[in-house]
Symmetry: C2
Subunit: 116 residues, 2 copies
DNA sequence: GCATTACTTTACTATCAGGTTAAATAACCA
DNA sequence: TGGTTATTTAACCTGATAGTAAAGTAATGC
């Protein structure tokens, strides 16, 4: 179940360790040890997290000597951003405020001009 | 583990049934039966999904006679949108194209001027 | 060739997630 | 009061997740 791409992406992001890994990758390619360094966790745990991120296509891996560097592959985040679009009108404060503002203007001009 | 708010929100969204429930709530308050209707799933399963959404503060519930209507509470989506901000530069096509364009300009000027 | 470094795989454990059926609760309505 | 409708709770099953320790692989470099 929940094997669709969007579910996979959300699921991969639902873990603070994995989000921290992605954040670290915004500064460029990193080795597994680089990524593991801040966490109080064994290497196999990190390997697993990387597998989850890879399966969700949020990272790409390569080989350089004995290293297997990771780099950010942000496209799935774009899909989330697009999914979010349908909700943006419900949570965007600036939009709400603009809307309120426009409605205020509207009612003021009605007061002044006596429009219907 | 992963008890932080953002993880909770991502986790709640990592299920197509729950995303469909949220989508349906964009058109207004709905009863549990309304929400359950499109799914090939028993009521207890829906109750559980609603509990997950409620725990993630993505919905709010009330009481009206024997109904317990649900309404969208989109604020946590705003948090995701804000989290996304740090990645937007990596996936926004317009930015990428601008970046490509600047790099092209750069390499052209290198060709012409013989810069290192 | 052999130790070291950098990982991954395997096997195992514990907990959580998503579903079920059956029973419980709670408000309406005749 | 007692039946019907709406929803939840309880108990259970199954499979996935997140971690571990220990062994395996693979490239580097003396």
């Amino acid at each position: 179940m929940s094997s669709d791409q969007l579910s996979n992406t959300f699921s991969a992001l639902a873990d603070p360790t994995r989000r921290a890994i992605l954040a670290k990758l915004t500064t460029g390619e990193k080795t597994v040890s680089d990524l593991a360094e801040p966490f109080d966790m064994t290497m196999p745990a990190i390997t697993k997290h990387l597998k989850v991120l890879e399966k969700a296509h949020l990272i790409e891996r390569s080989k350089q000597a004995q290293y297997r560097p990771c780099k950010l592959h942000p496209e799935p985040l774009k899909d989330i951003d697009e999914w979010m679009e349908q909700y943006r009108q419900f949570f965007e404060a600036s939009f709400d405020r603009l809307d309120d503002y426009l409605q205020q203007l509207q009612s003021k001009s009605e007061d002044i001009n006596g429009n219907e």
